[in-house]
């Protein structure tokens, strides 16, 4: 049956094949974590009884902890949190406006909020000198790290 694809209905992201290819090519990085032996025994017990690998349980805990840290930071200083999220998105090679980005998570998966922040709130803060000293410190650190 003849058909036509309407390209306007599609977003600008990579194809599913390309996305999975790039995911396959990136080796999973490692993170060394120090954990209390008592906590580890409980996690082992959960893993044994549930059949879920301990590493999977810990990964999900760490991801959730990082998300909580970022949201917590945003309560103190939204600009700092947005800056960190955007830097992480850049390191991960992901568009900060895309779904699943750290920036997207920070703005509660609401693209309009994210858009509003970068289009209005952030430039306003910048113009009015409303960015904190901590923001400047972190921005300098990122700038040094990015060379």
């Amino acid at each position: 049956m003849p058909y036509e694809i309407n390209p306007e209905k599609f977003a600008d992201g990579p194809s599913l094949v390309a996305a999975h290819q790039s995911a396959k090519e990136i080796p999973m990085p490692k993170l060394n974590v120090k954990i209390r032996r008592s906590d580890l025994r409980i996690l082992d017990s959960i893993s044994r009884q549930s059949g879920t690998p301990r590493s999977q349980i810990m990964n999900s805990m760490i991801e959730s902890l990082i998300g909580a840290m970022l949201r917590d930071l945003a309560k103190d200083d939204q600009d700092c949190a947005a800056l960190v999220a955007r830097q992480a998105d850049e390191i991960a090679g992901c568009d900060y406006m895309s779904k699943g980005s750290w920036s997207d998570m920070l703005f509660e998966n609401a693209n309009q909020k994210l858009d509003h922040y970068y289009a209005i709130e952030f430039p306003d803060n910048k113009r009015s000198g409303g960015l904190s000293d901590e923001y400047q410190t972190i921005a300098e650190r990122f700038s040094r790290a990015n060379g």
């Binding site: 209390r36 409980i42 810990m58 959730s64 902890l65 972190i138």
Partner: protein, 121 residues
């Protein structure tokens, strides 16, 4: 007037990380997603430098805290607690936090009961 900041990350801009060398800890090497690794890298540069070793212990307390909160989600978690408590309560661990929260009560002859703070299913 200075705004009062409460976030752990914000505080770490001024505080230095404390590394514990106790044998009560174990170091695990976890394979994490590139997305999580990117955020750890960003946090490392933003807040935790230059003591890169400090990253090791950055999640230690958070894991204990989160495990304690998750255990409190259901009284059905009691067997997990009962199994571990026979080993004693490690300072700062999830069990220790449960004792602090009153979810585990010591009685004169030892651990008396696991009661308060649980959500009944």
């Amino acid at each position: 007037m200075n705004k009062k900041h409460t976030s752990e990350l914000y505080a770490s801009l001024r505080a230095s990380g404390v590394e514990s060398n106790s044998s009560d800890f174990e170091t695990l090497s976890l394979r994490i997603s590139p997305r999580t690794a990117a955020m750890v890298q960003a946090l490392n540069v933003a807040f935790w430098q230059p003591e890169h070793k400090a990253v090791l212990t950055r999640f230690t307390d958070g894991i204990s805290r989160q495990l304690a909160e998750s255990l409190l989600d259901s009284a059905d978690n009691e067997p997990l607690i009962a199994e571990e408590i026979s080993q004693g309560v490690q300072p700062g661990s999830a069990l220790d936090l449960l004792v602090e929260a009153g979810a585990i009560e010591y009685k004169s002859m030892g651990i008396g009961g696991i009661r308060a703070g649980f959500t009944e299913k």
